[in-house]
């Protein structure tokens, strides 16, 4: 591949091969699972509960969850409730702007299956447009439930059970 001259592709594959090796991979997973920074994308009323997750009472920063400013710097998106067709496009755009090891949690009954809008023409299920890792049931879920979902996601990342740099079908 060096002989052909496709240096960029070769470097990318070499970096990927290096990252997937055992000790480096463990260190990477340890780092990522305690550094989940969510992006602000409030689609519906569950956003209020998500705001409570970071407040003094529930304090998600204990787990390294620090709500940060832009999609370019974050790696974690919470779909907070109903996704209308218009909002689904925005959510997908934000998701595409994030750098690669990125995770999605769908929060609330609306994000899972439409909730009280289950038969509306204008509803998109979160798993239809985004690769959701964890679902949180409830209408709206309590902040403890969100924290439990974050811990579940952390366990999943620690196991190395996620995609990184692979083209997905969905």
């Amino acid at each position: 591949m060096i002989l052909i001259g496709n240096m960029e592709e070769f470097l990318r594959r070499a970096a990927k091969w290096l990252i997937e090796k055992k000790p480096i991979r463990d260190v990477r997973d340890w780092g990522i699972h305690f550094s989940l920074w969510p992006v602000h994308l409030t689609t519906a009323c569950c956003g209020v509960e998500f705001a409570a997750v970071s407040d003094p009472k529930y304090d998600a920063e204990r787990f390294g969850v620090l709500p940060f400013v832009g999609p370019r710097q974050t790696n974690f998106i919470l779909i907070e409730g109903t996704l209308t067709r218009k909002m689904a496009r925005a959510a997908r755009l934000v998701y595409e702007q994030m750098p690669e090891p990125k995770f999605v949690i769908a929060m609330g009954a609306c994000a899972i299956d439409g909730g009280i809008f289950w038969n509306s023409y204008n509803i998109v299920r979160a798993h239809e447009i985004l690769p959701v890792e964890v679902f949180i049931p409830g209408c709206p879920p309590r902040p403890e439930a969100v924290i439990q979902a974050v811990m579940k996601l952390q366990k999943k990342i620690k196991r190395g059970d996620y995609y990184y740099g692979v083209e997905r079908e969905d």
Binding site: I19, V27, R28, W30, G31, I32, F34, S35, P56, D59, E61, R62, F63, G64, L66, V69, G70, R72, Q73, N75, Q97, P99, E100, P101, G165
Partner: protein, 344 residues
């Protein structure tokens, strides 16, 4: 064979502890700066959490109150994808933050660690440090232009406006310290302070102006205007991802660190007092210098938790009216002290 190993070991040790290698590489250079970076950002988050009655980072390492949090964040930035958007100017986008980081790092090399231990012992070392500090804003302008993003562009222009206004009080207040101790050499300044007393007691006005300028120019909180989160996403580094953004986040802290070192040398007596265990090796007084600089850094990051933010016109007004006048007065004050010394 044994002699050869012994010789190599001694030469290597000598080479490591020669000031030209040790200063940029270990202290106060790269290693000290990076460990300070990791500790200080954790401290900033922890102080903010304590003031808001939260825990802050905790579960990552329970016995040390989550001090490893920044290691985890750094690892994540290191291993995340670096996106280069289509509309950016690719060469400037990739190279500018790296050059900016290098230029932010340069003034540290000039600052001496102790009397016999300085990488560059020049008679104008204070002026060299100040001159290298003024190069910061132009590279930041290049960074902000290269992203081709409206928020980063606005952030860069704000930084340009601020830099035109803070550089003058910075230089004048540093010069008033130089006038007070009658030298531009940082080592001589510290020696004179050991004889006379700390600069902050002689000229408190210049010390206050310099402290405010440190906070002003590194966009710490009351003046966090160039990277205002709630107005323009994160200023010049809006489009950056991965390790490039990590560099960008570190830059203002490194600048804060270098300016705090300069502050400790100019006004807080540098590495004095050198007491017993510290006079065994010329590197050891650097510990006191580091502690003094760390106190300044910790104070500046503590302000995040207690202050709101100024608008840009208010900040410019403060710089041009208050800071500028006070710096001018401090220069006159220094001249007055000199005149009294000459008369009496």
């Amino acid at each position: 064979m044994y002699d050869l190993i012994n010789y190599l070991w001694e030469t290597g040790l000598n080479l490591l502890f020669s000031p030209e290698i040790f200063e940029p590489l270990v202290f106060p250079g790269l290693i000290a700066a990076f460990s300070l970076l990791i500790v200080v950002i954790w401290l900033e988050r922890k102080i903010a959490a304590i003031i808001q009655m939260r825990y802050g980072p905790y579960y990552i390492s329970r016995h040390t109150e989550g001090a490893l949090q920044l290691v985890a964040d750094l690892l994540r930035f290191l291993f995340s994808e670096v996106i280069i958007p289509k509309s950016v100017d690719k060469i400037a986008y990739v190279l500018a933050p790296i050059i900016l980081f290098a230029f932010t790092f340069l003034p540290i090399v000039v600052i001496p660690v102790s009397k016999d231990f300085a990488a560059i012992d020049h008679e104008y070392s204070l002026l060299i440090a100040l001159a290298l500090m003024t190069l910061y804003s132009s590279f930041l302008l290049i960074v902000s232009w290269a992203s081709n993003n409206k928020f980063s562009f606005i952030g860069g222009l704000r930084e340009g406006f601020l830099s035109l206004s803070y550089e003058i009080p910075l230089i004048i207040s540093a010069l008033s310290a130089a006038v007070l101790f009658d030298s531009f050499n940082l080592i001589e300044i510290v020696e004179k302070q050991a004889a006379m007393g700390w600069g902050i007691f002689y000229n408190p006005l210049a010390a206050i102006v310099f402290l405010v300028v440190i906070i002003y120019s590194t966009s710490r909180y009351p003046y966090e205007i160039a990277e205002a989160e709630s107005e323009i996403v994160i200023g010049p580094f809006t489009e950056y991802t991965g390790i490039l953004f990590g560099l960008g986040m570190g830059i203002s802290y490194i600048k804060l660190y270098s300016m705090s070192l300069l502050y400790a040398v100019l006004f807080l007596g540098g590495w004095e007092p050198v007491v017993w265990p510290l006079n065994l090796h010329p590197v050891l007084p650097g510990i006191i210098l580091f502690i003094k600089a760390f106190i300044i850094v910790a104070f500046s990051v503590f302000l995040r938790a207690v202050y709101p933010r100024y608008r840009i016109d208010q900040a410019l007004r403060i710089a041009w009216w208050k800071l500028f006048t006070l710096a001018f007065l401090s220069l006159l004050f220094s001249y007055g002290i000199k005149i009294i010394e000459v008369m009496g």
